[in-house]
């Protein structure tokens, strides 16, 4: 997945218009980044990257970029 595809996948998780997310956006300003979106993100990470996300990791996310950084297979 390239950055564009990752952003599109996150937009789907948050159920918002394609193209509305930018990497430098603060999550606290995005109303749609809620517990429901976080659950969709957890499922996405398992399906696409075979990764298990911990709740503590999600609590530490500050920006969209922080989420993007996790969207890759385990090294």
């Amino acid at each position: 997945m390239n950055t564009h595809e990752k952003l599109a996948a996150l937009e789907e998780c948050m159920d918002i218009e394609p193209g509305s997310l930018q990497p430098d956006m603060k999550l606290e300003d995005i109303e749609e980044w809620d517990s429901l979106a976080a659950l969709s993100y957890v499922v996405l990470m398992g399906d696409e990257f075979k990764k298990t996300v911990r709740a503590t990791q999600i609590r530490d996310f500050k920006t969209v970029q922080d989420i993007l950084d996790t969207m890759k297979p385990d090294e």
Binding site: D15, D34, S35, L36, A38, L39, V42, V43, G46, D47, T52, V53, R54, A55, T56, I58, R59
Partner: protein
């Protein structure tokens, strides 16, 4: 891996009962916040049954038990014991629901009764305990009731007037009659626990440990703040999602591999109806088509411990087949989960019915004025 294998136990009857009052999402939509509506995409619950006359798990469970016993002509004197799977006792935990059911149904005094207070994972546990007891020469017929009550979580016992909770849970109870049968097909069960996950789904103020606390907000072991509000407990949604779609899926895969079987060998995968997203994700990860994964949550909600056997009732009662091979998986608080491979004859399943019956003797009544 402690697999339990039973070669001589068969399901004689299975019945499922639900309270009559139906609450549809459509009808409550206008009075609940958009956030809750959005949540419905995850839960998949379109309608649910919750008692408005304060029926308890005992009331619903006994209705189901009577119907199951009538369907095969088993009188109460023929039962050697009753196991009640519930986390919502009518009274205190020690005065188990099983004792009330023993009395209401009229079992012999030398028939045993005890409760297993498990939550959503209870079905394979109850089945394994009953099947183990049935290995005893003098125990031939057992009743296993599953059921939890939901209405009491809502202020004034009225779920219709409480708009901020998710439209997710419903009420049902099932009665499973088991007997020893030398011609039975095998039942294979695996039981699993991850006690470290106790903190992801529980009521931190529900028992003794924190009973001294009077403040409203408390810091939980996982760093979350829990605000006490009525009787609702705490859930770490992310960790419960991880558990359901990773740990549970891995266990089912391992179960299949160990016994050298695949989903081609089964007519259905019956999952605890946690929510639609979890059911669909488990099925997808296991590569099972949704036509093989029955749903009851759309019309009845997540009915907690009863939801796995209740889904067998809603999906398979009246099916024109001699028998069905099913893989059942129930999972929840504990963290606790179990898998049961079993065979059921659809003609032994009583179709879902509604009941308004209540055991009024035990109701509190105003004391007479002096």
């Amino acid at each position: 891996m402690p697999y339990l294998e039973f070669l001589n136990i068969s399901i004689a009857a299975l019945a499922g009962c639900t309270p009559t009052p139906v609450q549809t999402l459509e009808a409550v939509k206008l009075s609940i916040p958009d956030k809750v509506i959005a949540f419905q995409k995850l839960t998949g619950v379109k309608e649910r049954h919750i008692s408005l006359s304060r029926q308890t798990a005992v009331d619903l469970g006994c209705s189901a038990a009577k119907r199951a016993m009538d369907s095969i002509g088993w009188g109460p004197e023929s039962l050697d014991g009753i196991i009640f799977l519930s986390q919502t006792p009518d009274f205190n935990a020690g005065t188990g629901n099983s004792f009330l059911a023993h009395y209401i149904l009229g079992l012999r005094n030398n028939a045993f009764a005890f409760d297993i207070p498990l939550a959503c994972s209870s079905f394979p546990y109850g089945l394994s305990v009953a099947a183990s007891l049935l290995q005893q020469q003098h125990i031939r017929r057992l009743l296993v009731i599953s059921g939890d009550s939901q209405w009491h979580f809502y202020p004034d016992g009225n779920p219709v007037a409480y708009p901020n909770s998710a439209f997710m849970f419903g009420e049902s109870a099932t009665a499973l009659l088991l007997e020893r049968d030398e011609n039975a097909k095998p039942i294979i069960i695996s039981l699993n626990t991850d006690g470290s996950g106790y903190k992801y789904l529980y009521n931190p103020l529900g028992g003794v440990r924190n009973a001294w606390i009077s403040m409203k907000n408390i810091l939980l072991p996982n760093g979350d703040i829990f605000t006490s509000s009525g009787k609702f407990g705490y859930m770490d949604g992310i960790e419960i999602m991880n558990f359901s779609i990773t740990t549970v899926v891995d266990s089912i895969r391992e179960f299949l591999q160990t016994h050298a079987v695949s989903f081609d060998d089964y007519d259905g995968l019956v999952l605890h109806q946690a929510n639609l997203k979890i059911v669909k994700t488990i099925a997808k990860r296991l590569g099972v088509g949704l036509e093989k994964v029955p749903l009851s949550l759309d019309h009845y909600g997540n009915t907690s411990g009863a939801s796995t056997p209740f889904t067998m009732v809603t999906a398979y009662a009246g099916q024109d087949r001699e028998e069905l091979a099913l893989l059942c998986c129930a999972f929840g608080t504990g963290l606790s989960w179990g898998i049961a491979s079993l065979t059921v004859r659809p003609k032994c399943i009583v179709p879902v019915f509604c009941s308004d019956d209540r055991f009024v003797e035990a109701d509190a009544k105003p004391a007479p004025q002096p």
